[in-house]
Symmetry: D2
Subunit: 304 residues, 4 copies
């Protein structure tokens, strides 16, 4: 359970008192504000605040491109045009602030996206809770044998059981020792900033994370991707669901041009033209390496 009853009450209170504003309002996002959507076993994502909506993107684009945007008759067409031509600045005019609870090893990947504002719970000042990410057995996979970073097959039940026992046991013991070290009963009590070093990377932390829509799309493209680690992908997917309701037109354009799209190299485009002209192109005649050829065929949907 990611939330305590007190937290549930607090969220209910935050959602109970609407106020008036003259700002742009996204009804889709208002429906989500403050609600904590569970992710993994103890984590969550919730929207604390947002700025702008689809119309704000259009408004900024029309300032920038002025007469150049008049021929694009509607908002949807303009937003698709902006996405297609990598005009990123209008998307930067929207901003979102999330409250996220997540395991430390996920936070370590996430923080690599530098263009964001972050306030993380500090284990120098405060005591971390006894909450650790313990994967579902279905998420326990072997090291991939074809890919140096990904996961391969799911572990068999026996090995999975061994792994879970280890993870649970070490988390419990490390946390017991963390508590024992900081305790000031009958001893001085180790400084928190030192004691935390004993906690494994599956302990949960939390932060406020604020970014603009352009950078959020970049984050989602990389982290909701099939090659991303499962444990960060589920956060990205949950955020995606929120964005779909916040800025539905921008979200559709993002799905079409970024998520579902593909970038082809000059060499790959050359192959394509030859294939469309009726030539039988093979890896040997393609000019592509074996790996590039395999990726190219995947884009064309022939193999996966």
């Amino acid at each position: 359970m990611p939330l305590t009853p007190e937290q549930e009450e607090e969220i209910k209170a935050q959602r109970a008192t609407p106020r008036q504003t003259l700002r742009a309002v996204s009804e889709g996002m208002e429906a989500h504000l403050y609600t904590a959507y569970p992710v993994l076993d103890h984590g969550f994502v919730r929207v604390i605040d947002y700025m702008g909506d689809d119309a704000a993107i259009v408004q900024a684009a029309r300032v920038s491109y002025g007469a150049g945007t008049r021929h694009v008759s509607n908002d949807e067409g303009l937003i698709r045009y902006l996405m297609r031509h990598w005009h990123s600045t209008p998307f930067e005019m929207c901003e979102v602030k999330l409250h996220v609870k997540l395991p430390v090893f996920v936070a370590r990947q996430w923080i690599r996206h530098r263009t964001a504002n972050v306030n993380e719970y500090s284990a120098r000042y405060s005591i971390l809770d006894r909450e650790f990410y313990i994967p579902e057995p279905s998420a326990l996979a072997a090291q991939s044998t074809v890919n140096n970073q990904g996961r391969g097959e799911v572990l068999g039940p026996e090995e999975a059981a061994r792994v879970l026992e280890i993870l649970k046991g070490d988390a419990a013991r490390c946390y017991d020792h963390y508590e024992a070290m900081i305790s000031d009963e009958g001893q001085q009590g180790l400084a928190r900033e030192l004691a935390r070093m004993n906690l494994p990377a599956n302990v949960y932390t939390q932060w406020y994370w604020k970014t603009d829509l352009h950078n959020l799309f970049h984050f989602l493209r990389l982290r909701a991707d099939a090659h991303a680690q499962y444990e960060i992908r589920v956060y990205a997917e949950e955020i995606g669901r929120l964005v779909a309701d916040w800025v539905p037109l921008a979200w559709q354009a993002f799905l079409d041009y970024r998520v579902g799209g593909a970038t082809l190299s000059a060499k790959a485009l050359d192959c394509l033209r030859r294939m469309l002209a009726g030539e039988e192109v093979t890896q040997e005649t393609s000019g592509l390496s074996k790996r590039e050829w395999r990726e190219f065929r995947e884009v064309l949907g022939n193999e996966r």
Copy 2:
């Protein structure tokens, strides 16, 4: 007059239809939304959107510093503590989006603040209006003789008149020629992206500019400073008035610690300690250069 009647109508309409939101609301800022506050002869600043308020700063800080913030009993004390100790991330949790109309030479200084999102009116796509900044006679000053960048005395009335005649005449002629070059009557008409090169730097442009409160304070500290060029300072001062109503506690802390404060070097602190101990310190015995000594004395309020 910075606004056309149509624009005045549009602002009235934007302010006429409040909607409900669950987000943090700053009443002080709501009162300013969309209204265009005149700056210089044709410019303006207006707030298009904002995110957060004083409470949002406190909320983010309490997440970060947890138990460490409990002893600071109230919001004001905590915000002052954050400002004093350069804890910048909680201030980054607030965001503001402005619509600004400004001369190009001011825009060129402004854009040097890189941590912001910008959508500027494009003179490649659109035709610039016939609007140029012509200073008030009181703003026409001579090159400073003590400072290599600032202004000195106000020009005498004759010289001022000559300058104004030049500025007005050149602006009008350059704009006439701009129009003549892009006209497609009886000729092909020069591309806008080329014709714009004939317009002087006092022509007005406009943009949407979005930044977070921490970076806005940095901008204001540099640009509302007495050493900043008058023509950007008046924008910074106008923005300051808006910020004062948006986040009044943060604004007071900013005034006390940044605007009214001063940074002293190790050498200057050493002088200070000697002075407080009763020693008569002079520039010669201070270890400071003449220029540093003068600046030090100014901070102490002895001379200016």
Copy 3:
């Protein structure tokens, strides 16, 4: 002539005294250091300093991806892999510092690339030179009729002559007045920070501009593109020639995957799969808008 004899002498001196270093050295870049390559009528680009080479990209990638990079046997393959999969951080490990002289309206576009360090010649402190960009007649084009931002046909000789006369005349007159206003002979002399507002946007400025290779590639992709304005494109192309000698492997990967490549949307990929399966797809049956269809056909090389 972009350089004075004194400047030519200075460059010769800078190139005359090699020193020893233990750092990574790119012989290709050493050959270019300090030399000013002319761009437009008075502009130039020259390399002042650089950090890293192709091997530095590889070195950083191998730290990051460790065992994951071992199967890619050579540097070229690894660099191509990084470029293909948008692994941008290893490219950020190279840095370059350029000295650029350029018209103000080009500088205004250029500065929109925010992830760079800039020191621009200040017209508050110093007096700008009497140098203005006056286009070649072949660069004087009409506003495009199909595209709201680009250029169309080259102007006829008569109209071109009129335009050139205007540009030269206004530049000369505005500069004469600039000099007259700042002169302190027989008058106080207007402050430089004010007088500069009378100078048109084709006046030359100069700056030191430092950025990393990843962000430089992003700049080059947008600014060396056929849709970029000619006057910034020639700078991007000149910089591209320098980069090709600095990091030849990264440059080739950039050409193949970014410059010569193309991004296709999910809808376009679907069309492609149907076409490769033998179906006759038209704009009407494609699910693409007319504009998207035209761009898609261009990528396939069928029309332009």
Copy 4:
């Protein structure tokens, strides 16, 4: 021992083959290149590359401020002027690339400095070494009782012994289990990206970290400060020693204006003026809170 004999050999080789360059060279930094300086029990800092020197700062400043810098006759005076007046861009013209080995909990603080380029060793691709930070007994301190984040007294020998036993035991056991889980002998072997979650935060990681001098100074000001956690401060101090040899003039200015200097609020400056005028000011009459008063007195050196 932070380095293996192979690594020592590699460094020797890197230092053995100087090459010629036309770039700016800092002799002080050349003497340090590649050498790994030990920090903590298994960590190190070493310089992989650098760009620029004191003269490069001056050169960029003279481009920017032109005539405004002529009256400052020498490089030292100009660099001090830039530092004093927060002119940050010339310092951004220098860049440094470090290779750092550090515990994960230190890396988590470090990465919060966003304006830097990073390539970290990936525990998704590679297997982490069995190396954990185990503090010296003298570094084992109790939670501060006056400050919510800092450390107080050093632990007594018995409690210290208990803590060290815990840290060593848990590190060893967690690493044993990490190895057991990823092993593919007689089992499938858990994916590395999952197994790493069992490792405590004192495990060592490493990265290439590249930043400019302005941002490095900001990092050093915060992290070499007495309030910074000891385990990151020792890295900052080691880097400081390298910077002192790289750009000695900038380093001295940094020490005087940032490290040894202090920022006083408007209220504190008012107290100061009254004190210098002979008034006896107490906390009660100062207008400062108790905490501010204590900090103010510390700056004046009266108490600590």
